[in-house]
């Protein structure tokens, strides 16, 4: 690892960006931001800026990918070339392919796939600016886009990471903490069903630290969950006001 020029957490337990250990970055959620998509959402999670759009349920293209007994969910997680300090090639990297897969698998448990046989739903996620924890913010936005598209869901999926920085378990790592910290544990969660739909980890954690990190991440998820519901209600209420 590189020599650390700065301490990631100071003596008072305050992190580089001024947060406490169990504090989230500011989260801003907006639903219905794109007119061509059936559903869409925009999330700002700290410096992360992410757009998600959902199309469907609609006919599958190519047709042979359709399933006779259920709907097929497809996800594409993609980073804009200008989203990171050094230009990222727009071609999908191995990381993006893997993240697209785990994001898809984190959303599937929320959907009633068997209700729409032979159809497909596509979720497109574009990371416009990345600052650590983009997969989590993407899931939060994608779930809102699906809900906005009117796809029936068992619960919203919300995601947040916890990790270990300077021997301390902390919530919601940003880029510098992710790169220099000891571990990162992204968690996607459906609060009403108490179901974890995405769990990954890299770094080294003792079993106790791992347990603590999961609990902390789920608490973070619950906070963002309230914002998600609020964002959906906000869109609904704006329409109602216009009608009056």
């Amino acid at each position: 690892m590189n020599e650390k020029t700065e301490k990631l957490i100071d003596k008072k337990g305050i992190r580089l960006d001024g947060r406490k250990a169990d504090e989230l970055r500011p989260v801003k959620l907006q639903v219905g931001v794109l007119s061509n998509a059936d559903g869409s959402a925009y999330v700002e999670h700290g410096k992360n800026k992410i757009l998600a759009a959902a199309f469907g349920p609609r006919e599958m293209h190519p047709k042979h990918l359709a399933q006779p007994d259920r709907m097929v969910l497809r996800c594409r997680y993609h980073m804009a070339p200008f989203s990171v300090p050094e230009r990222k090639s727009p071609a999908p990297s191995r990381r993006e392919v893997e993240l697209s897969k785990v994001i898809k698998e984190s959303l599937e448990p929320a959907l009633f796939l068997e209700l729409y046989p032979r159809t497909g739903v596509d979720v497109f996620i574009e990371v416009l600016q990345a600052d650590g924890g983009t997969r989590c913010a993407s899931i939060t936005a994608a779930a809102l886009a699906l809900a906005d598209a009117g796809v029936p869901m068992k619960d919203l999926v919300v995601a947040c990471a916890a990790g270990k920085v300077e021997d301390k378990v902390v919530l919601d790592l940003f880029d510098a903490e992710d790169k220099l910290g000891a571990a990162d544990v992204p968690v996607a969660y459906m609060p009403n069903l108490n179901a974890v739909t995405l769990l990954q980890m890299d770094g080294i954690l003792t079993p106790d630290e791992f347990e603590k990190a999961i609990d902390m991440a789920m608490d973070g998820c619950k906070k963002i969950y309230e914002l998600q519901k609020e964002a959906l209600k906000t869109k609904y209420m704006v329409i109602k006001e216009v009608e009056e």
Binding site: E105, P109, T197, L199, Q200, I204, P207, I214, M218
Partner: protein, 263 residues
């Protein structure tokens, strides 16, 4: 596989799992028989073949020289690639790696990287200019379930078997000398995958169980009993309690395998 056959099979597998047994006579926490053969490919710097029941994975390691990454000028480089070659399963097709082989490669990579298995500082030849690059190529030869564990075990076994060329630097030029030394390693991670079928956790799912299971979770752990990588897969969920239970099973299984392999 048609969904009708799968549903019939699901019922059969569920019923027997309710009784704490499995179709192939294992208990819920048993691995299939594991065989490791090292040094099976003489032309590779390191290699290992792992048989996990009927699942067969071959890993070859090639060591070459190359440039370090700009942000880690003093460290050698390791890359993992996985090929699901068409001879391994009727469902594998030739072509560029799909999301399954990319996920497999990245999960194996994460276990090795995050446990700091390879002492990459010792792979540095000239800081910022020349380092050893370790290519780990996972070749799945027969798919009978749980490719992740078979591949991860084979990858670590192949690295343990890897020989590095001796070298010296003369007038700024790298010269390969006679003889070999072993690849410097700091840790030997063990990867354990647990499947979930109808709320029951099973260790080392084989292909029939994989075709009906809801989801899986993989834990890589090191000698100290700490977790160094996790990956959940599959289109269902785990409750927080199931995750903690799975982590305990996985760590216990890893200890057991570590003793057996003498790693």
């Amino acid at each position: 596989m048609s969904s009708l056959v799968t549903k019939v099979k699901l019922k059969q597998i569920e019923q027997i799992i309710e009784k704490g047994k499995r179709l192939d006579d294992r208990s819920l926490t048993d691995y299939r028989e594991i065989k490791i053969e090292q040094g099976v490919i003489e032309k590779a710097e390191g290699s290992a073949r792992v048989l996990l029941g009927k699942t067969q994975v071959l890993v070859g390691v090639k060591v070459e020289t190359g440039e370090p990454f700009p942000d880690t000028p003093n460290n050698g480089v390791m890359t993992v690639n996985a090929e699901l070659v068409p001879l391994a399963s009727p469902n594998f097709e030739p072509g560029p790696p799909d999301e399954n082989s990319i996920e497999l490669a990245r999960v194996v990579d994460r276990g090795i990287r995050e446990s700091h298995a390879i002492d990459t500082e010792k792979l540095c030849i000239e800081p910022g200019k020349k380092v050893f690059v370790v290519f780990v190529d996972v070749y799945v030869l027969n798919h009978d379930g749980n490719l992740i564990d078979a591949s991860a075990i084979a990858a670590v076994a192949a690295l343990m078997n890897t020989k590095m060329p001796n070298y010296e630097i003369k007038d700024g030029e790298l010269k390969i000398k006679q003889g070999y030394t072993t690849l410097p390693m700091k840790s030997h991670p063990i990867t354990v995958t647990i499947g979930k079928i109808n709320g029951h956790l099973i260790v080392d799912p084989w292909i029939e169980e994989e075709s009906v299971m809801d989801s899986r979770i993989t834990f890589a752990s090191n000698e100290d009993g700490n977790i160094c990588a996790i990956q959940k897969g599959g289109s269902s969920y785990f409750t927080p309690q199931q995750i903690l239970e799975a982590s305990k099973i996985a760590l216990a299984k890893a200890t057991e395998l570590r003793k057996k392999f003498d790693w």
